[in-house]
């Protein structure tokens, strides 16, 4: 079972995040970055699958030099090898271009041994668009089973992937034949912390570095200029406004219930 997990290096959501004033892209220099927390679930799920059976987990990231840290973390958790696509031309790429680079990288990984499963997080914690997994599946011609809160692999490499996808009112059970792409939610597992041994072992694991030329991608297909979407302007969020006070005129309970249903808290 060969699994590729796509991971993203994102600015730490705990820190004060901002944009570059020059081109409205995410500021990655002045904020500490890390492996997107939502992608840790994808890494964990892939590790669980190979630990229960056999196989190898390759982590793939597209990002600047610092993104090597995201790969390192996944390798510390237990992934077997890493692929880092880094090319200055990629800066400012949108989801469409990112999915192109990921797809070509996965094809290249597949040249060595066929990829049976691609696992991704449900969205990045910086862009939070959540569209890359579907675009990627489309480009690779794979069935996309997304937002999995549970994943079961039956029959190994040539078998099936069955997921649970939780909706507001129902849970769908969906089965896809492998190879397939699965995106997972933060409900699917509890990502492990890297162990001391994992940290030491990660140092010896192979990481390939590829540029666009290695993937046969023309630089004009990616980057800010090729983007279908662009951040036009950004502004700091206004400070939180004061909460609403509900005066109780004998109907306080009713008003509170109405508030809760209106905002879909219940």
């Amino acid at each position: 079972m060969n699994i590729v997990v796509c991971v993203k290096y994102v600015p730490d959501a705990q820190a004060e995040r901002t944009f570059n004033a020059s081109d409205n892209t995410t500021d990655r220099d002045n904020v500490d970055g890390l492996l997107s927390e939502l992608d840790e679930y994808a890494v964990e799920e892939a590790l669980k699958i190979v630990e229960a059976g056999e196989g190898e987990v390759t982590v793939l990231t597209v990002g600047p030099a610092q993104a090597a840290d995201a790969i390192k973390k996944a390798l510390q958790m237990g992934a077997h090898k890493g692929v880092h696509v880094d090319d200055d031309a990629i800066h400012g790429s949108d989801a469409v271009a990112t999915s192109l680079v990921l797809a070509e990288a996965i094809k290249k990984i597949g040249n060595e041994a066929p990829v049976d499963l691609v696992v991704t997080g449900m969205a990045s914690t910086d862009g939070t668009m959540g569209v890359v997994p579907t675009m990627l599946a489309e480009r690779l011609g794979l069935p996309a089973v997304t937002f999995a809160s549970e994943l079961t692999i039956d029959g190994g490499a040539g078998g099936t992937a069955t997921i649970h996808r939780d909706g507001d009112a129902s849970t769908q059970t969906i089965t896809a034949t492998l190879p397939a792409l699965v995106s997972v939610t933060d409900q699917i597992n509890e990502p492990r912390y890297p162990s001391f041994k994992g940290i030491m072992a990660a140092k010896k694991k192979p990481v390939e570095k590829w540029a666009l030329a290695d993937l046969g991608i023309d630089p004009s297909q990616v980057g800010l200029d090729a983007a279908w979407t662009k951040v036009e302007a950004f502004a700091a969020r206004p400070p939180r406004s004061q909460g609403e006070i509900v005066p109780d005129e004998g109907d306080g309970g009713r008003k509170l219930a109405a508030f809760l249903t209106e905002h879909k808290f219940v």
Partner: protein, 392 residues
């Protein structure tokens, strides 16, 4: 020389993440209830924290681990909570270390794999109600009866001795008299649940509420003679040797405490407004924080210098005497710095610093024991003075 390796820093990042996610959100609640979080121990085991100085055959890190890594882990846990830090420090230094250093292969196989995995904990009982700094005054006795030791006596303040997962406590006991008439003290392993091994109710402590501490009573407690750890009559000497490591570990715990105080107090001084300005603009406040920063730096350097010496000793490149001296110096300075740090931090927090809602209050209560456990400040001064060649 003046920074830890990238491996140590990578490991620090993981332990910090663990402490902030698994400990920080629960600690106030655990502390208020004096609750020992048994479930946390195997999680610490999965991280590899108990195996950093243990060979691979018992589940440890083997050659890739070192004592410095253990200090990093203790510092980072201690930065979030001191009780969790001491649970690790004592778990390794007092629980695992004596068995690893003096145990027979059979004893090691029996206890170490579970201890390293965090499935069990072990304690070491040296202190008695009437023998602390003067540990040689031990009164607990073990008398041989056939192929058993019969133990009678009492131990005081024993860490990790009464948890649900405590598997064994090693105790020092008089097993005879030397030719010169001095008491012969040996170390004997007493498995939890042995009849006559009574774990007294937990103490009501000023601090370290989340750490497990009990008095132990032994009433005609019988264990097989094979439970002796190391050589007969060597119990005291063995224990003193174990203490050097423990002192450096306590020093690391103190660094975590002082570091937490520095971070908490600096943040507070930037945001707390009095007289229309952040309190940190006043030199009365900022100079104290500057002093605190110096203490943290000094404590950290002394601690990791001692840890480095310990690792060098392990590699055969340094002498025991050098490590002992450095360990006492680090322990003395760091623990006193930590106590000062908590005093400064609570002062910066004003009335809030006296409230349990603010972690500085917990650190204030927790710090004091650092100057007492594993050799008081006075004992460290005695040892340092002796190292200077002054008459004992």
């Amino acid at each position: 020389m003046f920074e830890l390796s990238q491996d140590h820093e990578d490991f620090r990042a993981v332990v910090r993440d663990f402490a902030e996610n698994e400990v920080a959100p629960n600690i106030a609640k655990w502390d208020a209830a004096s609750y020992f979080p048994t479930d946390l121990v195997p999680k610490m085991g999965e991280l590899g924290l108990f195996g950093l100085v243990v060979p691979e055959e018992y589940g440890g890190a083997g050659e890739s681990g070192d004592f410095t890594s253990l200090c990093v882990a203790i510092e980072e846990l201690g930065r979030v909570d001191q009780s969790i830090g001491i649970t690790l420090s004592a778990g390794v230094g007092l629980g695992i270390n004596p068995i690893l250093t003096y145990g027979t292969e059979e004893q090691k196989q029996r206890f170490l794999p579970d201890l390293v995995a965090g499935r069990t904990l072990a304690g070491f009982g040296l202190t008695e109600p009437e023998a602390g700094s003067d540990a040689a005054a031990s009164r607990t006795r073990a008398v041989r009866d056939g192929d058993e030791w019969v133990i009678d006596g009492a131990k005081a303040f024993i860490t990790n001795s009464g948890t649900e997962i405590t598997s064994v406590v090693t105790v020092t006991a008089r097993t005879g008299t030397t030719a010169a008439g001095a008491p012969e003290i040996s170390a004997i392993m007493v498995p939890a649940g042995t009849p006559g091994f009574i774990v007294e109710p937990a103490y009501h402590k000023l601090g370290w509420h989340v750490s497990d501490t009990h008095g132990l009573t032994f009433e005609a407690c019988r264990v097989p003679i094979d439970n002796m750890l190391g050589e007969p009559g060597q119990g005291f000497k063995q224990f003193l040797k174990t203490l050097d490591d423990g002192r450096i570990a306590i020093s690391a715990l103190a660094v975590g405490c002082a570091q937490a105080c520095l971070e908490l107090a600096t943040d507070y001084a930037k945001t707390r407004i009095a007289f229309g300005r952040p309190i940190g603009v006043n030199q009365g406040v900022s100079f104290q924080l500057a002093d605190l920063a110096v203490m943290v730096e000094g404590a950290r350097l002394l601690t990791y210098k001692a840890a480095w010496l310990k690792d060098e000793l392990h590699a055969g490149r340094r002498s025991v005497a050098e490590v002992k001296h450095a360990a006492s110096i680090a322990k003395l300075y760091s623990t006193e710095a930590a106590v000062s740090a908590t005093r400064i931090a609570t002062q910066v927090f004003g009335g809030n610093g006296f409230m349990e809602e603010y972690p500085v209050a917990r650190f204030y209560r927790d710090a004091k024991i650092l100057e007492i456990g594993e050799g008081t400040s006075e004992v460290q001064r005695m040892l340092i003075a002796r190292g200077l060649g002054l008459p004992a």
